[in-house]
């Protein structure tokens, strides 16, 4: 799930959380597929962004992200369990990029 600014919304995106008016009324339910019309209506509302299904855009290149991971684990990589933990985080980060 990621928060997408209103001007970046595109038809076909699906809401990962309901859109709720200030008074608490649900305007668009979770899972609603956005159309041009809904996007225009949302643009008229006072909201910053909408939660959309799917992973967020990664702002830094994968290599840099993994280099920072290596640096963080530098002194503990050989301690018990830490190799496994590092591998899990590494796979997790790589998957964030694969989805794009």
């Amino acid at each position: 799930m990621s928060k997408v600014p209103v001007d970046k919304l595109k038809p076909g995106m699906k809401l990962s959380r309901p859109l709720v008016a200030k008074g608490g009324m649900v305007l668009l339910g979770e899972g609603t597929e956005l159309t041009e019309k809904w996007i225009d209506r949302i643009a008229d509302m006072d909201v910053e962004g909408i939660f959309i299904d799917g992973p967020s855009e990664q702002s830094e290149p994968l290599e840099e992200n993994l280099a920072r991971l290596d640096a963080r684990f530098r002194s503990v990589a050989r301690e018990p369990h830490m190799g496994r933990l590092k591998q899990i985080v590494k796979n997790y980060i790589e998957d964030l990029y694969d989805k794009h």
Partner: protein, 279 residues
């Protein structure tokens, strides 16, 4: 190098209301939560009488930290659902947030990420009160906040030291203060009459097997603290991932998939709680 024996300052720290750098909201909160026989009524009155505080507390309970998104509409409902101790912790959470924003922004992301990881792990292990573990995660570095606030120069030196020497911030704290933030957090949580489980977590999140009352909760916070650093979220004083205590880690019996799931929920929640920064 600035070196302070913080143990000699214990009385000064415990008398938090006299510290010049501590913001008045925290002083007022401190005065109410240290009352020996605080009742639910008293606490909900205190919060409800301050609309800004009430809205901050509600925003927090309805955030991803607690897993009741958008469902809690009043302070009394929050206290019934979460219990007196969790709400006491939350009040502290909102006020340390205010301080972290000023003195060490990354520490808030670190604390939030840790709180979410704690809740998810506590739920996986079937603990009865996952919210209590989550508050423990939120507050585990409370001692750092007070140290930075009151001894800014020495603390900044400790941060530089940790980075240059490649050591953990708690080790650098020991050099500059003779003690760590864990001890400072423990003194304050005792003064505030926080539950023994929370005091245990505060005192032993770096040496989880020393916990006397809440070994499992302490192990959860210990591991969550490490996992947030492993993911590279926030900043807790040094850029390194510390080694996990094997006994504590094995106690949690988490599979690779469990850990991935915690990472995913942590990332999701931090995106959703980004609007908490307007608290």
């Amino acid at each position: 190098m600035t070196s302070i024996d913080i143990k000699a300052h214990r009385n000064r720290i415990e008398n938090i209301n006299a510290l010049p750098t501590v913001p008045s909201t925290l002083k007022r909160i401190s005065a109410i939560i240290e009352k020996p026989k605080l009742t639910i009524d008293e606490l909900s009155h205190f919060i409800a009488n301050d609309p800004a505080l009430a809205s901050r507390v509600l925003k927090m309970v309805n955030s991803a930290i607690y897993g009741f998104p958008g469902r809690i509409s009043s302070i009394s409902h929050a206290i019934m659902l979460l219990g007196l101790n969790v709400v006491k912790g939350l009040l502290l959470g909102t006020s340390i947030f205010e301080i972290m924003q000023k003195v060490m922004k990354g520490l808030w992301d670190h604390s939030l990420g840790c709180a979410v990881a704690c809740r998810v792990i506590a739920e996986k292990l079937g603990l009865k009160y996952p919210e209590e573990v989550s508050v423990a995660g939120l507050l585990h570095d409370l001692g750092k906040v007070i140290l930075i606030l009151e001894y800014q120069k020495a603390y900044e030196e400790a941060i530089v030291d940790a980075k240059e020497k490649g050591i953990a911030i708690s080790e650098a704290e020991r050099v500059h203060f003779q003690e760590t933030h864990a001890a400072v957090g423990m003194w304050l949580s005792q003064k505030w009459r926080l539950p023994v489980n929370l005091i245990d977590v505060m005192a032993y999140h770096h040496r989880p097997t020393a916990a006397k009352f809440a070994p499992l909760e302490t192990a959860i916070v210990h591991f969550s603290d490490i996992l947030v650093r492993a993911r590279g979220l926030g900043f807790a004083g040094d850029p390194y991932v510390p080694a996990v205590h094997p006994v504590a880690f094995e106690m949690l019996r988490l599979s690779d998939d469990d850990i991935r799931d915690v990472l995913a929920k942590m990332d999701d929640s931090l995106e959703q709680t980004a609007d908490l920064s307007e608290l």
